[in-house]
């Protein structure tokens, strides 16, 4: 087995989430890749929680079908995770001696005394004992676990650290006496161990999609953020807050989403690349002002990290159901750009592109991410510095003083010359009222038509960008899986499984949702016999959108909160092929 998926569960006090993160840190030091997802019960604190960690020799951007190892520090309310921790007959189950009573069906668990080992050292941290145990199983020497602990606990005192270290050692030792009946991920079991390897392995990053979105935005030049906290977008903002300041920018916690987006529009009007971040309910509140950005042609980026809807919905779980709102949710004819980040790493790339596009085309770019991409933590190779930069403002200066400056000039490419406050000779009043080329309010049919045409036209050439999407083709593929956002890495993994079963398929992830890169999509569709569009929502919003352009295909969609799994897609593809062969 090359990859291993471990579920760690406990109550709020047992520190399973910290355990999961430390397992990831240790694994990264061993040259492994991995991904971590956290999940919590409804209680705010002290309730049940779980961390699901998947480890393997190659970058992992999705979770597998099932759980190989379940390690339980506390069984209370374990059933709440039934949807998210799909156990099978082959799942190994380990429980701490202090875990309480397992549900009837899971009584076969192996009992290990993590809490006892900790207690012997005078500590309550059974999770650290478990870390030692799992670290040993992965192939760490004691020093590697120690260095991981040191990095994580650098702000703690020497005494605490020493204690923690002893508990971890006890856990490590437990593995030598009760080894784990599960093969560790391939890179380690198959390769050399020890210190040398740690140095050779090359640099690794540990990051969430939300953090990388923040990085992409800052690197592309965002210097103003205004936002209102909302799960699961807040941690992108929290990552940016201190850092944007160091870049000479500002982050404002606004009184609500209406203020947030209008503040960002104000900054954008001032020539400072600006954004906000939110999730469904907040995006809905921003709908009116989005139209203002479009009509006044003010650059603006919105990162929308999707969660379960409608209404307050399921705030902590992933779904792709804000597609409609992002694409269509403005009043009037209000063309704008909608993109979707395809992977955790791609949050960096897509945000950068969105910033550049918003500024060069003086428009609104909405980037869709979701709770899965945003909050999952991944080990990944270092990302190259973002290639995108917000257009330097001087590039579109109006004519020199004295010349007639038409802020909303009807140009060939649809982009009008913009002056910035402070610039003599460029004074104008930006307006959400319809206006003439001179930026004066106008209700004339001709002015309306001109500006509507222009605002539409300036986006059109965007579809020619090489960034429109990612294609991963297989020789001989007769079927295409088409998707956007976080389903892309899952589809790629399904592709690998299908390839193993001699069923090559192509996978295309669309990054540019609107305007739609139809030529490219059509081309990809023409290469195969069957196309399935997959998405994580109830109505098949993306499929409906594609159909509105005359495309036809099969649609597979279902809502959250369960994540899509590669196995689910594999089954889906096989059923489709079966249905087709029966039809023939």
């Amino acid at each position: 087995m090359k990859n291993v998926t471990i579920a760690l569960t406990g109550s709020g006090g047992t520190g399973v989430v910290a355990l999961g993160e430390m397992v990831l840190q240790v694994a990264a030091r061993l040259g492994l890749y991995g991904i971590l997802r956290k999940t919590f019960g409804p209680q705010i604190r002290g309730g049940e929680s779980a961390a699901i960690v998947r480890l393997g020799p190659r970058p992992l951007a999705s979770f597998g079908e099932t759980i190989d190892l379940l390690l339980v520090l506390d069984w209370t309310n374990f059933q709440r995770f039934a949807d998210e921790i799909p156990l099978t007959d082959t799942t190994l189950i380990i429980e701490d001696t202090a875990a309480g009573t397992a549900p009837a069906a899971l009584q076969s668990a192996t009992r290990l005394d993590f809490s006892g080992l900790a207690r012997q050292q005078g500590s309550a941290h059974s999770n650290i004992a478990a870390l030692g145990y799992l670290g040993s199983w992965l192939g760490c020497d004691g020093g590697q676990i120690e260095r991981a602990l040191e990095q994580r606990l650098q702000h703690h005192g020497a005494d605490t650290l020493a204690l923690i270290r002893r508990v971890a050692q006890a856990g490590s030792h437990l593995h030598t006496v009760s080894p784990l009946a599960l093969a560790a991920p391939a890179a380690v079991t198959g390769g050399e161990r020890g210190k040398e390897r740690e140095q050779e392995r090359g640099e690794r990053w540990l990051a969430t999609g939300n953090q990388l979105a923040g990085l992409g935005a800052l690197e592309a030049g965002i210097r103003f953020v205004a936002a209102y906290p909302i799960t699961p977008a807040s941690d992108a903002l929290e990552w940016m807050a201190g850092r944007i300041e160091q870049q000479g920018g500002h982050l404002v916690q606004a009184e609500d989403e209406l203020a947030a987006i209008n503040m960002a529009i104000g900054a954008g009007f001032g020539g400072v690349p600006a954004m906000t971040a939110t999730s469904g309910p907040g995006l809905a509140l921003m709908a009116e002002a989005m139209g203002l950005a479009v009509a006044s042609e003010t650059p603006l980026v919105i990162l929308n990290v999707m969660r379960g809807g409608p209404s307050t919905g399921i705030p902590t779980k992933s779904e792709q159901s804000d597609f409609n709102l992002a694409v269509y949710g403005l009043h009037g004819d209000a063309p704008h750009v909608v993109m979707a980040a395809l992977t955790i790493a791609d949050c960096h790339h897509t945000l950068g592109w969105a910033v550049a596009v918003a500024s060069e085309r003086q428009t609104l770019s909405i980037v869709l991410s979701d709770q899965f991409l945003g909050q999952s933590m991944q080990i990944l190779p270092p990302l190259a510095e973002g290639a995108f930069k917000a257009e330097p403002v001087s590039a579109s200066l109006p004519p020199a003083e004295g010349g007639d400056y038409f802020r909303y000039l009807n140009t060939d490419n649809g982009v009008s010359p913009v002056a910035l406050p402070g610039q003599a000779g460029g004074m104008y009043t930006a307006d959400g009222l319809e206006h003439s080329e001179q930026a004066l309010p106008s209700a004339k049919a001709q002015d309306h038509q001109t500006q509507l045409d222009k605002r539409q036209r300036k986006l059109e050439s965007l579809v020619d960008s090489p960034h429109w999407g990612e294609c991963c083709r297989q020789q001989g593929a007769e079927l295409l899986i088409l998707c956007f956002g976080s389903l892309y890495p899952i589809a790629l993994e399904a592709q690998q499984i299908l390839l193993g079963e001699s069923l090559p398929v192509n996978v295309v992830g669309i990054r540019l949702l609107s305007p739609p890169p139809l030529a490219q999509i059509r081309q990809c569709m023409d290469e195969v016999k069957q196309v399935v569009v997959i998405e994580q929502n109830h109505q098949g919003q993306f499929a409906r959108y594609l159909r509105s352009f005359g495309l036809s295909f099969c649609s597979y969609h279902r809502p959250g909160p369960r994540l899509f799994t590669p196995g689910e897609l594999v089954r889906q593809v096989k059923e489709m092929r079966h249905a087709e062969s029966q039809a023939i």
């Binding site: 990264a28 540990l206 300041e245 406050p421 402070g422 959400g432 309010p441």
Partner: protein
């Protein structure tokens, strides 16, 4: 040095003849002349309403945004571009009804902008509905046939409770006095709120009587308790600067942390 009239853009206002907003326009251009304001460094930000049309009439930059959101737009601009002179303006509907939350939080936040509300106690633009400042028993809108029957909004008292650091009231009948207030407001560091009694001749012709009731108040204090006492007793027709209590302007400046490597935290 520009003259007041040189701050006019030349665009003809859509306002009714006699509308109080003309005086506010004049007062702003006078204040700009007195301030020797470089036109390209001033930005007037407004919402929607008759009053909110003002930016296009001034020779400066402007942003005619959406209804009720002038303040956040202006604050975002000022935080991003602190060297600009940013003035938000609009009507009583724009500022106190749909925009009420931003008003509260702008007073607290104390970004260095001026906010001018042309208060005519009515929604002029949408043809005469009651606004938050409309008298309780004003029965001239079909939408509220018995009058709003709601206690009028007290802009200055609320600004004070919310933490505004400069509070003043002017009258469209006295553009010079108003220009003087605006001159002070622009120079006040932090959020300066100026309520202007600016009559709507079309929907509230009775406001012509305001000129008899308006009187000068020389109560300026920096003591919030004294100001509260005055404002809670106020008849709404005093003009002057009532409160002026500078405190740190937002955003506060912090010793610049060394521009950190953004990527550092990701490395293991």
């Amino acid at each position: 040095m520009l003259k007041a009239r040189q701050y006019k853009s030349g665009v003809k206002p859509i306002w009714c003849p006699g509308c109080g907003h003309y005086s506010v326009l004049n007062a702003i251009t006078k204040a700009f002349a007195a301030l020797e304001q470089a036109p390209e460094n001033a930005v007037l930000v407004s919402g929607i309403g008759c009053s909110s049309r003002l930016p296009a009439y001034v020779s400066s930059y402007g942003f005619h945004g959406v209804h009720g959101r002038a303040l956040p737009l202006a604050a975002g601009l000022k935080v991003a571009r602190p060297e600009l002179n940013v003035m938000a303006l609009g009507g009583d509907g724009d500022g106190f009804s749909i925009g009420g939350n931003h008003f509260l939080h702008a007073c607290r936040r104390n970004v260095d902008i001026v906010y001018v509300v042309m208060d005519n106690e009515v929604y002029g633009m949408t043809k005469g509905q009651a606004s938050p400042t409309t008298p309780e028993h004003w029965e001239h809108s079909k939408l509220t046939p018995h009058g709003p029957e709601v206690r009028p909004f007290q802009p200055c008292a609320i600004a004070l409770a919310a933490g505004a650091s400069f509070i003043a009231r002017g009258h469209s009948g006295d553009p010079n006095g108003l220009a003087q207030i605006l001159f002070e407001a622009v120079q006040h560091p932090g959020f300066a709120f100026v309520q202007v009694l600016s009559q709507c001749v079309t929907f509230c012709p009775e406001q012509a009587a305001w000129k008899e009731r308006v009187h000068q108040e020389d109560h300026c204090t920096r003591d919030p308790v004294a100001a509260a006492r005055f404002l809670h007793g106020d008849d709404g027709f005093g003009k002057g600067i009532f409160y002026r209590n500078p405190r740190p302007v937002w955003p506060l400046v912090h010793a610049a942390a060394a521009a950190a490597d953004l990527r550092e935290g990701f490395r293991l």
